[in-house]
Symmetry: C2
Subunit: 249 residues, 2 copies
């Protein structure tokens, strides 16, 4: 994996994934860790980290601004150049405050869907040429992060089978929809040597997960990076927990 | 089942469901078949049928206009009165023209989600008081259409497990999301004696299904009505094919 693009890197799991990549042995570290952030004032840790590590390249973008994607792809292209992009990690996501049916608002449902589902689909669409270039550049390498992978950050809350608690209409619908889109990506792009999976990070001590969560950010992110590094053809189209365990839809 | 509300009744499966209900034995026919339609000029068959059958009550509403729902609930309330509403059948849906990743448009993804997912959730939220009233009115009756049911029209294309063909990002994400929402409804509302299921109508000769589909509208709708009439506690939260076969998420 020479290059990875991770969205939503100003905090939580996005920032944790960067830190985890920097903890890997030298030969496992991507040469380019392209990261996106939306609000500069809330991204000081990311921007400070990028000053210390030349391999981190922060790009300022609001991923809901789909008209901006062409320019974003040009920026990524100029960073990865002929090698293309090995891994697109769609991590950015939100969780609406309204969770019970009686308090569910149509605007929250749509806003969550746009950020958690539409943006990963549109960014994948936009970056397919760069992912293809990476896959084509390693034609004899096995399918996996050494060629080209799409990793979409989902959640066990998007598992319909595992839903025992109800509620959470905005979050659950957006993540089930992302799971559905990822399965289509895994089929549509396999002929190009590009694989696609969805990951559940576990219940993690982030702003979204809250302080009662059993997993620290580092634990979850180290496990996700290990799972990412071991991805192979057999995982294409799967829903995997941070530690690589397969989950039901 | 004294009353049923079916959305999207101007053609296809919605119109077929009404016709199928009218073919049932007298004691199985709902006293009130409340139907919604959006474009009067495209709803002549429905409006003609309603003139012949007093039990069909057509309501003119654009279900994307969520601000209109309060008024819609008042209309339904004045029709069903003290008995409440037994069955809400969220049937209205669309399928965007763009299907392959490379042609997927963010506007199509959002529009399809609003119609196929957000509208059924918001209409369910709005009608819960009338569904509760129906369930409460039959406290000793078994859970099912004799008390209160939500039936959401999904599709096998919303089954992530069954996806072998890829593509169809807008339609698949909206239906997987509807499946996720229905599972939450089935949990959230079971304490009120209200059950919720998703149905796959089969591949049917409609405008959406096309002329090559193996099932006639009447066949699919007769089977769906039989499945609806037989719904019981064991089906709560399930994804059922038209003939009652359980499908995977």
């Amino acid at each position: 994996m020479k290059s990875i693009l991770i969205t939503g890197c100003n905090r939580g799991l996005g920032l944790g994934l960067i830190r985890s990549l920097l903890r890997q042995q030298q030969h496992q570290q991507p040469e380019k860790i392209i990261t996106t952030y939306r609000v500069p004032e809330k991204s000081k840790e990311l921007l400070a980290l990028a000053k210390q590590h030349a391999q981190i390249i922060p790009l300022h973008v609001d991923l809901r601004d789909f008209a901006r994607y062409d320019q974003l792809v040009q920026q990524v292209d100029s960073i990865v150049q002929g090698a293309g992009l090995n891994v697109l990690f769609n991590n950015a996501g939100i969780s609406p405050k309204s969770t019970r049916l009686n308090f569910t608002k149509s605007e929250d449902l749509v806003e969550t869907f746009v950020t958690n589902t539409v943006a990963p689909i549109m960014l994948t669409k936009a970056l397919v040429p760069l992912l293809k270039r990476a896959a084509d550049g390693q034609p004899t390498a096995p399918v996996g992060p050494g060629r080209a992978c799409i990793v979409n950050m989902s959640s066990i809350l998007g598992s319909i089978q595992s839903n025992r608690e109800g509620g959470l209409y905005g979050y659950r619908t957006s993540k089930a929809a992302l799971n559905a889109a990822t399965k289509s990506m895994s089929i549509d792009l396999q002929g190009n040597g590009i694989m696609a999976v969805v990951l559940h990070p576990g219940w993690v001590k982030t702003d979204m997960g809250g302080p009662k969560a059993p997993l620290a950010v580092d634990e979850s992110c180290d496990a996700m990076v290990q799972t990412l590094l071991l991805l192979n053809q057999s995982n294409n189209g799967q829903f995997l927990q941070y530690d690589g365990t397969a989950l039901p839809w």
